[in-house]
Amino acid sequence: MHVEDKFTAETWPAAPEKQTLEGKNKFLGFWLFLGGETVLFASLFATYLALKDKVPNAEHALAKDLFELPLVFVATMLLLTSSLTSVYAMYHMKNFNFKKMQLWLGLTVLLGLAFLLLEIYEFNHYVHEFHHTFTSSAFGSAFYTLVGFHGGHVAFGLLWIVTLMVRNAKRGLDLYNAPKFYVASLYWHFIDVVWVFIFTVVYLMGMVG
C-alpha cells in the first residue's frame, strides 16, 4: 500500500497508522520519544519533591495553603474527558469516518482549551492571592516549572491537533496523515497521564501536607 492510494471504508486497513514504513517508523519513534518525555517529567517531579515547601520565610504560602481541590478536580475531569474523546476520534479514524473523527477531535480541543484556561486562572489566583510566583521561592519555581511544563505540553498539543485538523479538512484520510493523527492522539494521552501524576503528587499530596 502506498501513501498516495485512495481508500474507501471497505479498503481502509485495520491499523492505518502502521501500514506504510513511514507510519511504522513514526509510530515507534513517537513511543520512544514519549519514553524520553517520561524521564523528563520524572526529573521535574524529583526536583519538585526536593523543593516542595522550600521557602525563605514563614510569610510564604505552602502547598497546603494554596491548593483548592474543587478547582483542580474540575480541571482533572476536563482533561480526562478530553482523553476519552480523543479515543473516540481514533475509533472513527480506524473506521474511515473522517467527519466524525474531526468532530471528536474538535471536542478534544475544546476540553483541552478549557483545561488550559482553568490553569491560567489558577496560576493567576496563586499569584494575586498568595504572592506565590515563579520568582518568590524555590517552591514557587519548582511548582510553576513542573505544572507549567505540562501546561506548555497541553498548549503545544492543541496547536498540533488544530493544525492537523485544518490541514486535512479538505483532503480527508489517507495513509499519509493517518499516522499523524494517531501520534497526535498518543501525545494527548501522554499529557493526560502526566496530569494524573501531577494531580496525585502535587495536589493530593500537597493537601495532606
Binding site: N25, L28, G29, F33, E37, V39, P56, T135, T145, W160
Partner: protein, 622 residues
C-alpha cells in the same frame, strides 16, 4: 530537488549539503563539524598544558584558564566526540543493517543542524564577553556566581545541541528496529550496530535529565527563579544529581560505540568472527543498563552519607565485570587469528592495554572510602582521559582510517597513519600516565597554576611534553587527509579485503540509495559467509524495483536557525530591550518552519527501475 541529478559547482554542492537528508552526507557534515570542534578542543588542551608546564606560569590568566578548561571539556564531549561518533553511526550503521537510509531522514538533518548551531552558539561566547568558566560540570553554586554571560552561552548552547542529539538517538533506535534487511535478525547485527543501538537508548533516557537541569539553570540565571538559590529555599545538590544522572551514561554513550568500532576492526583484521558474540551483546546491554545506576559515584565527597556511598560504590564496581568480559573476548578474537597490523588495527590493539589502564583506575575510584583521596585530584583527570582518549579517541581515529574508504572512496595513507598512531600513542601515555601520580601526590584538578616546592614540577613538565606529541600526531593526520583527498585514488567495494559485514558489499562510496536490491542476510558477518562460499557479493532478497527516496529540505536548517536566534534573545533579554523581540522572532522562525513542514505534503520521490538498470555501469550491485 534531489541528489538524483548530481550537480557540480561550489554553490550547488553547498546548497546540496545545506538541504541534504542523505545519511551519508549528514555523516560527512558531522565529521567536518566534529573534526573542527575536535581541533578547537585540542588547541584549548594545548593552552592548558602549556600553562601547567612550569610552576607559577603566566601564559594565560587565572580567569581565562577557567574558561579554557571549561570549553575544553564541553567541546570535547558534546561537540567533538559525540558528533564524530554520530558521523560514523550515520555513515555505517544503515549500511550494516542493509537499509537505504535512516528511519527519519528529515529529523536526521534536523539533529545535525541543531547540534551545529548549538556548538557555534556556545563558541561565540569567546567573542561576546567571555566563555563559560565553571567547568564542563557547571556546578550550580559556582555557575550561579559566575559573572557575565558565559554560563548562559553554556546552558543555551547545550540545550540546543542536546535536542539534536536526542533526535539522533531516537532516529537510530527506530532505524535499527524497523529497517533491517531480510534475514538481519537482532543476533546477526554487527557489534557496531548493537553498540549504536544501546548508546541511542542511553541517549534517550540520559539526555532528558540534562535538559531539565539546563532549564533550571537557564531559569535561575535568566528568568529569576530560585532552584539553586539557597537563601530562597533552593538546593544546589539537585544540579549535581541531574547533571550526573546524565553525565555518567554519557560516558557510556561515548565509549560503547567505540567498543563497537573496535569489535569490527578486531574481527576484520584477525580474519575471525568475534569471539563470544552473544556475550559481547549481553555485556554491551548490561553496561548500558548499569550505567544508570552509578551516577552518585561522582558525588562521593558531596556528603550523601555512607549508605548511598556504599551502594553506589558496589554498583560501580559491578560494571567492571561486563567490561572485563569484553576485553577478554577481544583478546580471544585475535587468539588463533591471522592478524594484519593496518593502522585501524594498530589503534585497536593499542586500545586494549590503554583502556585496561583506565578501567582499573575506574575500579579504584569506585572504592568510595579511597575515592575521598582521588576525587577532584589529577588522579581523576588521568583516569577519565585514559578512558576517553584511550577508548573513545582511539576508536574515532581507528574508525577514521577504517571507514574513510567507505565514506570517501579513497584510502588514507597507511605510512602517515602509522606515524600518527605511534606519536599519538606515545604522547597519550606520556601525558596522562604521570597524572595519576600527580593526583596522588596532592595536586587538585582544575588549578590554573601550582606553586614550586610541592614535588609537582617534573610530572607536569613531562605531561606537557606528551601533549605536544599528540598535537603533532593530529597535525600529521590532517596532512594525511589533505594529501589523500588531493590524490583521490579510487578503491573498490572491499578495500581492506577482509570485510565481513554488509557495508563492504557495496561500492565505496555507496550510491545514494545504498542498495539497489536489499541483500539477503544468512548469518552473522553476511559478506564473509558469501565470500567463503566463493561468491563475490550478496544474494539479493528482492527483484530490482522502484526505490522510494525522501526529498531534500532546507527546513531543518531554518528550524535550528530559529532556536539559535531565540537563544540570543533569551541571553540579552535583561540587558537590551530588543532581547525579547529577538527571542520571539527566533521562536517564530522555528514554529513557522515546523508549521510549514507539517502542512506541506512531502511524499518524496521514486527512482525508477529503468534508471537503476542504467546505473549498472557505476556499479551499484547489491
Amino acid at each position: 530537488m534531489s541528489t538524483y541529478a548530481q550537480k557540480k559547482g561550489f554553490g550547488a554542492t553547498l546548497w546540496d549539503y545545506l538541504t541534504t537528508v542523505d545519511h551519508k552526507k549528514i555523516a560527512i557534515l558531522y565529521l567536518i563539524a566534529g573534526g573542527l570542534f575536535f581541533v578547537l578542543g585540542g588547541l584549548e588542551a594545548m593552552f592548558i598544558r602549556i600553562q601547567l608546564a612550569v610552576p607559577n606560569n603566566d601564559f594565560v590568566s587565572a580567569g581565562l584558564y577557567n574558561e579554557i578548561l571549561t570549553m575544553h571539556g564541553t567541546t570535547m564531549i558534546f561537540l567533538a566526540a559525540m558528533p564524530l561518533l554520530f558521523g560514523f553511526m550515520n555513515a555505517i550503521m544503515p549500511l550494516q543493517i542493509g537499509a537505504r537510509d535512516v528511519a527519519f531522514p528529515f529529523v536526521n538533518a534536523l539533529g545535525f543542524w541543531l547540534f551545529f548551531f548549538g556548538g557555534i552558539f556556545l563558541n561565540l561566547s569567546w567573542f561576546l564577553g567571555g566563555a563559560p568558566d565553571a567547568g564542563w560540570t557547571s556546578y550550580a553554586s559556582l555557575s550561579m556566581a559566575s559573572e557575565g554571560h558565559g554560563i548562559d552561552f553554556y546552558a543555551l548552547g547545550l540545550q540546543i545541541s542536546g535536542a539534536g542529539t536526542l533526535m539522533g538517538g531516537i532516529n537510530f533506535l527506530v532505524t535499527i528496529i524497523n529497517m533491517r534487511a531480510p534475514g538481519m535478525t537482532y543476533m546477526r547485527m554487527p557489534l557496531f550496530t548493537w553498540s549504536t543501538f544501546v548508546a541511542s537508548a542511553l541517549i534517550l533516557f540520559a539526555f532528558p535529565p540534562l535538559t531539565v537541569g539546563l532549564f533550571l539553570l537557564i531559569f535561575d540565571r535568566m528568568f529569576g527563579s530560585n532552584f539553586f538559590d539557597v537563601a530562597n529555599g533552593g538546593n544546589t545538590v539537585i544540579w549535581e544529581h541531574l547533571f550526573w544522572i546524565f553525565g555518567h551514561p554519557e560516558v557510556y554513550i561515548l565509549v560503547l560505540p567505540a567498543f563497537g568500532i573496535f569489535s569490527e576492526i578486531f574481527a576484520t583484521f584477525s580474519r575471525k568472527r568475534l569471539f563470544g558474540y552473544s556475550s559481547m551483546v549481553f555485556a554491551t546491554v548490561l553496561i548500558g543498563f548499569l550505567g544508570f545506576m552509578v551516577w552518585a559515584h561522582h558525588m562521593f565527597t558531596t556528603g550523601l552519607g555512607p549508605i548511598a556511598n556504599a551502594i553506589f560504590a558496589v554498583a560501580t564496581m559491578a560494571i567492571a565485570v561486563p567490561t572485563g568480559i569484553k576485553i577478554f573476548n577481544w583478546l580471544f578474537t585475535m587468539w588463533g587469528g591471522s592478524i594484519k597490523f593496518t593502522t585501524p588495527m594498530l589503534y585497536a590493539v593499542a586500545f586494549i592495554p590503554s583502556f585496561v589502564g583506565g578501567g582499573v583506575t575506574g575500579v579504584m575510584l569506585a572504592s568510595a572510602a579511597a575515592d575521598y583521596q582521588y576525587h577532584d585530584s589529577y588522579f581523576v583527570v588521568a583516569h577519565f582521559h585514559y578512558v576517553i582518549v584511550g577508548g573513545v579517541v582511539f576508536g574515532l581515529l581507528a574508525a577514521t582510517h577504517f571507514y574513510w574508504p567507505k565514506m570517501f572512496g579513497t584510502m588514507l595513507n597507511e605510512a602517515l597513519g602509522k606515524i600518527t598512531f605511534w606519536l599519538f600513542l606515545i604522547g597519550f601515555h606520556l601525558t596522562f600516565f604521570i597524572q595519576h601520580f600527580l593526583g596522588l601526590m596532592g595536586m587538585p584538578r582544575r588549578i590554573f597554576t601550582f606553586l614550586p616546592n610541592q614535588g609537582l614540577d617534573a610530572g607536569n613538565l613531562i605531561s606537557t611534553i606528551g601533549a605536544f606529541f599528540m598535537a603533532i600526531a593530529t597535525l600529521i593526520l590532517l596532512i594525511n587527509i589533505v594529501i589523500t583527498s588531493v590524490k583521490n585514488e579510487k578503491v573498490g567495494n572491499d578495500p581492506w579485503e577482509d570485510g565481513r559485514t554488509l557495508e563492504w558489499a557495496i561500492p565505496s562510496p555507496p550510491p545514494f540509495y545504498n542498495f539497489k536490491q536489499l541483500p539477503l542476510v544468512r548469518g552473522l558477518d553476511p559478506l564473509w559467509i558469501e565470500k567463503m562460499e566463493g561468491k563475490k557479493g550478496m544474494t539479493p532478497a528482492e527483484p530490482i524495483g522502484d526505490i522510494h527516496m525522501p526529498n531534500n529540505s532546507f527546513n531543518p536548517f531554518m528550524i535550528s536557525l530559529g532556536l539559535f536566534v531565540a537563544a540570543f534573545g533569551a541571553l540579552y533579554r535583561e540587558d537590551y530591550n530588543w532581547g525579547v523581540l529577538v527571542l520571539i522572532a527566533g521562536m517564530g522562525i522555528t514554529l513557522l518552519s515546523m508549521f510549514v513542514r507539517s502542512v506541506k505534503d512531502d511524499h518524496g520521490f521514486h527512482i525508477h527501475k529503468e534508471d537503476l538498470l542504467n546505473d549498472d555501469d557505476k556499479g551499484g550491485k547489491a
